[in-house]
Amino acid sequence: MAAANTTAAGTATAAPAPAAPAAPVQVPRGQVDLVDFIDWTGVECLNQDPSHSIVNALKQTLRDDEGLHLASDSDEQLLIYIPFMQVVKLHSALFKGPEEEGPKTVKLFSNKEHMGFSNVNDYPPSDTLDLSADHLVENKPATLKYVKFQNVRSLTIFIEDNQSGSDVTKIHKIALYGTT
């Protein structure tokens, strides 16, 4: 059933976007965009470039602006902490970024507060995504292990490396889909 869902979501999003990268995103059926449930006072991002901060990738209006993106600072890793205002169920996540500097290995942790780069590898992630250029450019949401994200109060996204291995990781948009 999960596989059928994935293909259904895949075709739904791929169909209206033949070649143009800026095609509208189809929200997976039965899911909502969880951006309205994000508790903005608690959103944190470690190792972000101050002039290219997390709001550029998360906030409703800024994330669709092609000129704004989230960039990493000292090295290519990023640690994003997103608390929600209520308990949600996560279905899929969409990452949009440039082909070269976009994220590659993404680890998601559910309900782990205040992690740091030093202890991020101490816990097993709730899910690991290996993003390809497809995901980043074609507006294709990556489906998550639904059973692991049934009771999510906060989400920590650890971006371990990027597509080309460069020093800076850039992300144009992060969208989370699910239900409440």
Partner: protein, 420 residues
């Protein structure tokens, strides 16, 4: 203590509680911060080119910084650790208790070499395990000995700090060789994000280390908070308050006005108390009793004289207190009788029972012994007003009653019970 007065002021002037957050939020000085101070107590600190010795100058500066940070925001925490001596060790984990911080500086020994890299790592760890995760992390390092690491290593350290969102302030003093300022500047450049990290070079000279630091961003914080932090720091150094009540009227006119009004009302009330020595029941009913508590507690000569922004107030209260004391000890029975008479005349109009009690107390006072101290205790109104002002002392507590009984004798306890 400042927070108490502010809360009482809020209640008094009907400000909603959400405004309390505004009032106590650090719009000036330091935002919510957890700081670890790394002290250099290596052999190089024995040198006397900073008066009285490098180590002592450093200790004074540390005391000043701790004071400024905790005053600027009561939720700020500061921790202290050594870089040399017995080794890199944390003396006190980040706490807002200024006394603890000052106590740990006592008896520190000077010796060995400073290990900067290990110290910064340990400081990072201490900050990582802070209790309030909302606090920004900051390390202040006093580097007085030569730096033996090369630039690359320092830059890596700096990057790691930046990655973990830790700001770094460096005080470069003591030993100076050609490369030290450069290396430290490189370190700060690597850590710096958005101007959060600073470096200060202090050459040896006449000015004390702490005085030089007062005008630097290390002291004044990042939010242009020169008003409060600088005046608090200046007050600590020179003993004179920059602004009345320590609040800049330009920055926060409502708070300044509210504080001034409650101060004036306090003064008026203190004078009334001094005149009517037996009016302790009214004190309890007074709406700003908690305000009174904090103000009176300060007036006690024994309390901490380092509370800068109320410095003017204790002096005035002391004067009033002296007057009250003088009046109660004045002459033999005539003094106390006249006070009691004045009190009786007013209180008698209000409450005949009270008048009776006062009469009994005056009689007992006349029969007392000669010593001054017992006369003070005999002036019951004075004692009860003191007791009421002490936070946590309930005059109806049986142990307190027993104590008074032992001081006055039985007859007076009865009248005291009556009064309370």
């Amino acid at each position: 203590m400042v927070l108490e007065v502010r809360r009482a002021t809020c209640r008094r002037f009907s400000l909603p509680n959400s405004d309390l957050r505004l009032i106590s939020s650090p719009r000036r000085g330091f935002p919510l911060q957890a700081t670890m101070i790394c002290i250099d107590n290596s052999e190089w600190m024995r040198n006397g080119d900073y008066a009285p010795s490098r180590f002592q100058a450093q200790a004074d500066a540390v005391n000043l910084i701790c004071g400024a940070k905790t005053q600027s925001n009561p939720e700020n925490t500061v921790g202290v650790m050594t870089m040399a001596g017995k080794g890199v060790r944390v003396l006190v984990t980040p706490t807002s208790d200024l006394g603890k911080i000052l106590a740990c500086m006592h008896g520190l020994e000077v010796g060995a070499e400073a290990n900067l890299a290990a110290a910064i790592q340990v400081a990072q760890l201490a900050l990582k395990h802070r209790q309030n995760k909302r606090q920004q992390q900051r390390i202040i390092a006093f580097i007085g000995s030569p730096v033996k690491y090369d630039k690359k290593v320092l830059e890596t350290i700096g990057k790691k700090l930046k990655k973990n969102n830790v700001a770094l302030d460096i005080v470069d003093f003591g030993e100076s060789d050609d490369e030290k300022p450069e290396k430290l500047e490189a370190l700060i450049a690597a850590v710096n994000s958005n101007d959060s990290s600073h470096i200060v070079h202090v050459p040896p000279g006449d000015n004390a280390l702490s005085d030089v630091l007062l005008s630097t961003p290390i002291f004044t914080g990042e939010e242009g908070g020169s008003g409060f932090a600088a005046s608090a720091a200046a007050a600590a150094a020179t003993g004179a308050s920059g602004f009345e009540f320590g609040v800049d009227p330009n920055v926060d006119p409502e708070l300044a006005l509210a504080l001034r009004l409650s101060m004036e009302e306090e003064r008026a009330r203190q004078e009334a108390i001094a005149k009517k020595a037996a009016e302790d029941t009214e004190n309890k009913d007074h709406a700003s009793s908690s305000n009174n508590d904090s103000v009176m507690a300060e007036a006690e000569p024994a309390t901490n004289a380092a509370d800068d922004d109320k410095k003017e107030q204790p002096k005035d209260d002391d004067d009033l207190l002296q007057q009250a004391l003088a009046m109660s000890m004045e002459g033999g029975s005539s003094g106390s009788a006249s006070v009691a008479d004045a009190a009786m005349a007013e209180a008698g109009a209000v409450d005949p029972d009270l008048a009776l009690a006062l009469q009994m107390s005056v009689q007992d006072a006349n029969m007392s012994s000669d010593s001054d101290m017992s006369k003070v205790f005999e002036d019951r109104s004075f004692v009860t007003s003191i007791l009421n002002s002490l936070p946590g002392v309930d005059p109806n507590d049986p142990s307190v009653k027993d104590l008074l009984a032992s001081l006055h004798g039985q007859g007076e306890v009865r009248s005291f019970l009556f009064l309370s």
